[in-house]
């Protein structure tokens, strides 16, 4: 009986895994291979003749001023929003961890921004910030502040504020969930030892919560690096190239300039640049047993 069972099992794992293997081959492996390969061709919408041109596209990537501008903006944007959201999200999680009336209601309210499609939120931001009919400019001018929100000087801080509005709740959610399994006996011990509030926070809460905060920061960073929707809907990368993220730059190269070869080459460069992070993400996400105690 047992031997028969194990024989069935040996085939079962392939039968059960087959759909995934087929899907992966067709819709993951093939596209990745094609993506890397396209980078080696002179392949534009304007020129129907697809010709092999070796590493020419890759050489062009590094001499494109637009590419370096996009790298700079993406890095700056991702680092600033992640840092701000980490601090605010952590603070909010500590605040929400108290007992107070209406907690459940506000918890739900805080999660809503995460659920709204970034592109739809982009439209809502346009409405809110519109110079003629928007609430924000009206309030600002009532306060005597006459600033043009989408001018080159203010658009970057503006986008940072908007990202913080939407994604601070995400960091909050992860840190808050982590706080629910916080070892309370440690806190009681600290209280008995007469540790003050600030002291408890810096030498107990933060060190214990470090892995959770790190996970939240890491995930926000990944998502901030690939930001597309909100910025594309709001500014389409402008004015000029001021707010062109790498994602927007690749999109425009492929689908506005029609240069598929170059776009594929940029994608491959970005992919290679992110590759060193893979072991980190594998360690952080892929090992559930590490978190169990």
């Amino acid at each position: 009986m047992a031997t028969r069972g194990s024989k069935v099992d040996r085939s079962a794992k392939w039968v059960l895994g087959a759909p995934l293997i087929a899907f992966t081959a067709m819709f993951v492996v093939w596209p990745v291979a094609q993506g890397v390969q396209t980078g080696l061709y002179d392949f534009t919408l304007q020129n129907p003749e697809i010709t092999f041109n070796g590493l020419e596209n890759f050489r062009r990537v590094f001499s494109l001023p637009g590419f370096w501008d996009a790298v700079r903006f993406t890095a700056l944007f991702a680092m600033v929003v992640t840092a701000v959201e980490a601090v605010l999200g952590f603070g909010l999680a500590l605040l929400m961890n108290r007992r107070f009336p209406g907690k459940k209601l506000f918890f739900t309210a805080l999660l809503l921004p995460i659920m709204i499609a970034p592109s739809l939120l982009g439209i809502m931001f346009r409405l809110l910030l519109n110079g003629d009919i928007g609430l924000a400019p009206a309030v600002l001018s009532a306060l005597g502040l006459d600033i043009s929100l989408f001018s080159p000087g203010t658009v970057v801080p503006l986008l940072i504020v908007l990202d913080v509005l939407q994604w601070t709740p995400f960091v909050f959610l992860i840190v808050y969930s982590g706080l629910q399994s916080f070892p309370t006996d440690v806190l009681e011990a600290a209280q008995i030892d007469g540790a003050g509030r600030l002291r408890t926070l810096t030498s107990l809460v933060i060190p214990i919560m470090k892995p959770v905060i790190a996970a939240a920061v890491f995930l926000r960073m990944i998502d901030a690096i690939r930001t597309f929707d909100v910025i594309y809907v709001l500014t389409a990368g402008g004015p000029g190239r001021t707010t062109t993220t790498l994602s927007i730059f690749i999109y425009k190269t492929a689908f506005e300039s029609g240069d598929f070869g170059l776009a594929a080459a940029i994608s491959t460069v970005v992919l290679l640049a992110l590759l060193p992070l893979v072991p980190l993400v594998v360690r952080r996400i892929a090992q559930p047993e590490g978190s169990r105690s």
Partner: protein, 296 residues
């Protein structure tokens, strides 16, 4: 209580020597927290609350002033849904079909393969590691290849094409969460079933699936929301037939002049399904999002 008392229980100079604070003072502190949290919750929700307000304003009131009183009207909703002849109902239907299709495909692919990987040793850690790595890659990397692939297959601008794209985008999350869920089920139940002569398929179907149900709901909710909210692949892979709301509501901006009232109504309607999930399936959502984030 437990950790909820974390910070509240550690006010300045708390030590056993301190006598408990007067009750009234504690009450005031609690309401103060409520006030601060209420302000934050309001601020992060201003964008859609503003859109909600505008969606009930007539075009004349919108043009008149962004602040102040107005006479509420439902005409924008009527316009978005039928009166003005927009394709919005079709966009909405497309979004629903794409999101539900992606949920079905992700579950059908992820459940058996995660089981094969976790319990039957298919591919060792490979499937989990590959899933985690895919989570890292920016979706834009697949823009050009997917556009070419879908064109070659002749399924560009179809719901099927977008179902495949969104299944691909969400498959890693599904596999990560389901594997974590499987890891929490005690293996003894399955061993007992095997000794009773149940095949792997039978064990998976009648023993594992019922226990795994909460995880499957969490995955379904998350995949639905993420697929519904996708914009990049909709932009690349659809032009008119398969346009979902995320793209369709933005299309109002260019195609009909700027009718802000109608746009507001359409975007409020478009955010309803994910937001309703957020409210009614919150338990699954929180566990799913944080499990995908913080290891198992």
């Amino acid at each position: 209580m437990t950790a909820a008392a974390l910070v509240a229980a550690v006010p300045a100079g708390t030590s056993p020597k301190d006598r408990p604070r007067p009750r009234r003072e504690r009450r005031t502190r609690m309401w103060l927290t409520t006030g601060v949290v209420a302000v934050i919750a309001f601020v992060v929700n201003i964008p859609w609350l503003n859109a909600l307000m505008v969606s009930f304003k007539s075009e004349a009131d919108i043009a008149h002033s962004p602040v102040g009183a107005f006479k509420p009207t439902l005409s924008n909703y009527a316009n978005a849904l039928w009166a003005a002849g927009y394709d919005f109902p079709k966009f909405f239907q497309n979004s629903a079909m794409i999101a539900l299709g992606a949920v079905a495909v992700v579950l059908l692919l992820a459940v058996p393969s995660a089981y094969a990987a976790v319990r039957l040793g298919l591919g060792g850690r490979l499937i989990m590691n590959a899933s985690s790595s895919l989570r890292l890659l920016p979706a834009i990397f697949f823009a050009v290849p997917y556009f070419l692939l879908m064109s070659n297959l002749g399924i560009i601008d179809t719901v099927l094409g977008l179902v495949i794209a969104n299944s691909f985008l969400n498959l890693p999350l599904g596999i990560i969460l389901i594997s974590a869920g499987l890891g929490e089920i005690p293996i003894e139940i399955e061993e007992a079933a095997a000794i009773d002569g149940a095949s792997s398929y039978r064990t998976l179907y009648s023993i594992v699936l019922p226990v795994l149900a909460p995880t499957l709901v969490a995955v379904a909710v998350l995949v639905f929301i993420f697929s519904w909210n996708d914009y990049l692949f909709a932009l690349i892979l659809s032009s008119s037939n398969a346009t979902p709301v995320t793209l369709g509501a933005a299309n109002f901006v260019t195609s009909t002049g700027i009718r802000w009232g109608d746009i507001s109504a359409a975007s409020i309607l478009s955010t309803l399904p994910p937001v309703l999930f957020a409210v009614f399936a919150q338990r699954y959502l929180v566990s799913g999002l944080s499990a995908g984030a913080v290891k198992g």
